[in-house]
Symmetry: C2
Subunit: 351 residues, 2 copies
Amino acid sequence: MSFVDNIRRVIPYTPGEQPQKKVIKLNTNECPYPPSPSVKKALDGMDTDVLRLYPEVACDTLNDALCSYYGVPRECVFSGVGSDDVLSMCFLAFFAGKDPVLFPDITYSFYDVWAEVYRIPYETVPLDEAFGIRPQDYRKPNGGVVIANPNAPTGAALGLDAIEDIVSHNKDSVVIIDEAYIDFGGETALPLIKKYDNVVVVRTMSKSRALAGMRIGYCFGPAQLIKYLNDVKYSVNSYTMNTPALVAGAAAIGDDEYFRDITSRIIKTRTAFGQRLRELGFTFVESSANFIFAAPPAPFEASFIFEELKKRDIYVRHFKKPERIAGHLRITIGTDEEMETLYETLSDILE
Amino acid sequence: MSFVDNIRRVIPYTPGEQPQKKVIKLNTNECPYPPSPSVKKALDGMDTDVLRLYPEVACDTLNDALCSYYGVPRECVFSGVGSDDVLSMCFLAFFAGKDPVLFPDITYSFYDVWAEVYRIPYETVPLDEAFGIRPQDYRKPNGGVVIANPNAPTGAALGLDAIEDIVSHNKDSVVIIDEAYIDFGGETALPLIKKYDNVVVVRTMSKSRALAGMRIGYCFGPAQLIKYLNDVKYSVNSYTMNTPALVAGAAAIGDDEYFRDITSRIIKTRTAFGQRLRELGFTFVESSANFIFAAPPAPFEASFIFEELKKRDIYVRHFKKPERIAGHLRITIGTDEEMETLYETLSDILE
């Protein structure tokens, strides 16, 4: 017997590399544009003396802004330290049953990590050949369902009908729709929170609001689920979001024009770059996210391209596991200039 | 069967009230002085454009500053979103065994909440008559030990010998020393992390560094324990501390003169106010924290004084449970002016 026997052994999630040197960084789906100027203004105007006091326990500054923007009642919102914190709390709060929680075999690779750390039984459901989610596969006994839409790392989106099919066939489970990438093309499940009592829609400001460095995530759901979620959150940490995060988040939500501008620029760049990527012989399913998940033309291996790009200071993401996706690269959409450099570099490598 | 059956039911920790109106706020042990001017300078100078990128995954800016200030090797530090986040992760990481975790019956009331939410067996150990912790009470089989030193909400400190006694008699358990209030008078257990492989020392910037609003906590421990702690942390949220928190925390640690000035002022105010409180007939054990835990003179009840103060816009903390402490008030040490107003108000109420 030793204290080591009492330690929770886990294999943690591996985040994308954060190189210190100056590189073209297309490996963690960050936004290539800075946050809205309103964020700078709000942070510059913040009285730092108030930092001696605890932040708002119910995140009012941010949650009020979110509710007003999305037209959701105040008791239907919850915020946290990035959508990872929100999702982690959702797993802890909603998945305390004995039946396995279902999610796709290829999806955000944090889901199984949360299940492992919280000792939640789970079962993965294979995507179809074209990396698609089949709603009918989620019609079996379960302790919960998690669907990323658009899915990661594929970028493929499910229509609202298909999402509703999953929600409506699982009324005895909480269904989490992780919409981290929804602002780049998918159809949101937000309207479903009024219609069903078992659905939670999770969002982040890390991608479309260019605030990865602030760690702001949130979710919407029926008041009853949000209440249970808050109970668990207040059992883990009373104050998770610091004052600058609340202020910056509210400012970002307040600048809708800037948000529309940067997301539409990213979508435009994605379309143009996707076209050129196809010309180079890459194949990929259509992306509704701020990245493209593409396989290089034979005989080139994804791992080879990944290493060659890295040598040239261009970072993309390569997942060695599961094997089904080891032949793909996940390429974040950067600025037009960055994608032009990437295109030229890929052309050189493939020559 | 309904999704509600799968929900984790918990009774959350109740934080102190955060009144919106202007009051004398002596109920949540915040610092009455603003953070160091270096914090303002660092935040004002921060490039907000970098917020589009994820923060440092290993919190280098902050952790390097902490290690250099405390003379601790880099692999022996861990930071989080307030000491609540650090403690929560410690509970999750270190207390996955079957034997009960031990902590005092009267202590920081979040310990049993974390135990409940993570389904950790625990057993509380009664304080002695004078609210003291008896090290010999912690010599029985257990799955871990948690000691707040100085203890909350009593303010009573244990000497390093007594702490070492607990650590050395529990070599098969991880012993957590929660030093949230250590900068106001206690003797730190930090030297023990070099001598024992089973001890972790937890700190916060919410009190002595006047940064409650930034949510910064940290801990020191042997490299092996910090490694396990990081594995669990990276299984919950890759990036917990946002960029402003890292920058502000490093700046606060860098201004030792200011830190010494405000903590010594608070200690001086505590001594003077304690004297006057005794003159009013209050009784309390000597405090080594930034609060005094005092019982009013008979026939006055603590709950009555609490309500009377509140009517006069002075907020202190009253815990209705456990019964043993229901006769006490926890009074945060504010500025000399605030304590003067409190003294006069108490005199009026007791007349």
